[in-house]
Amino acid sequence: MKTFIIAIILLTIIVIGSLAYIYFVNYVTDPMLSELKDLDNTVLAGDWPKAQTQVALLQQRWDKKEGWMKAFIGHAELDQIQITLSRMRQYINFEDTKDFMNESSVLKLLLQSIVEKEKVSLSNLF
C-alpha cells in the first residue's frame, strides 16, 4: 500500500511537472516571438543600430533560458536556434535585409515548432 501511494504521488508529480514544463516553454518562446516581430519591423525600417541592440537582447534572453531548455529539449534543435541567432547578428552587422528576413523566418519556425512539439495533441500522441 505504501509503495502504491508513492507511485500515485510520483504520477501526480509527473503530470504537474509536465503542465509546468509546457507553461515554461510558452513563457520562454512567446516573448521571443514578439521581440522577433519588433526586430523584423526595425530591420525593414532600416534602423540598424536599434536592430543591433534588439538582437543582442534577444540573444541574451535566449542564453539565460537555454540551460534549462537543454534539460528537456533535444540539443540539436537548440543548437539550430543558436546558429540562426548568430547568422541574424551577422546579417544586421552587414545590413543585409533580405538574408536577415530569411533567418528571422527560420527562427520563428524553430521556436513555434518547440511549442508545437510539446503540445498535448492527437498528432503528437500518435
Binding site: M1, T3, F4, I6, A7, I8, L10, L11, I14, K70, A71, F72, I73, G74, H75, A76
Partner: protein
Amino acid sequence: MIVGDCYIMFIIFFRTTFLYILVIIALRIMGKRQIGELQPSELVVTIMISELASIPMQETGIPLIHGILPIVTLIILEIVFSFLTLKSEKMRQAISGTPSILIHNGKIEEKEMEKLRFNMDDLMEELRANNCPNIADVEFAILETSGQLSVIPKSQKRPVVAEDLNIDTKYEGLPLALIADGKVKTNNLSHINLSTEWLKTELGKFGIQNVKDVFFASLDTQGNLFYQLKNKAQSKK
C-alpha cells in the same frame, strides 16, 4: 579539443552511472522474481526499461529526462497494475492470464493444447524436463502463467515419503549461518539468544583462536556446529 573530449567522456560516465542506478532501483521495485519466472507483463517492462536506459546513455544530445521519464512511468504503471492485480481477481486474470490444464486426470486436453499452440513435442519436452518421461504416469500437467509446466504424477508413481511408511521424523529447522567470510553474523546469533563469546568458546574447542580464520560456520537445530576454515588458515595448520 582534448579537454572537450574529456567533458563528453565525463558526461557519458555520469549518464551511464545515473541510469544504471535508476535501472537497478526499477528492477528492485519490480520484485524478487527471477527472470525465468517473470509474468509476461513484467518481462515486457524489463526489456523496455533496458532499451530506454541504453539510448540516452550513449547519445548525449538527448536530454536525460527523455530516458528517466519513461522509466519512472513504467515503474509507476508496474506498481499500480501489480496493486490492482493484488486486489482484483478479474484484473489478475486480464493481466497475468490463468493457468491452463494440459493433462487432466491423465487425459491430454487436445482443445486446450490447440488453443495455446502447444504441440505434443513441446509437452513431451517439458515432461522430460520435469522428470516424468512417461505420459501415462502424469495425473495433471498445468501450464502456469509464467510459461512453466507444473507436473503432478499419479499417486502410485509419486516417490515414497516418510508418512507413507509411518515413520516418525524429527523436526528439522533451517541451519543458521553464524560466520560468513570471516565475519560474525551478530544478528543471527542474537536471534537464537547466543553471543559472540559463546561462538568463540565453541570454536576454541576445535582449536580455532581467531574467528577471522573461519570461512563459514553454521548451527543446525540439533545444536551441531559446522565450520570450514579459510584456505590460508588451513595451510597454516
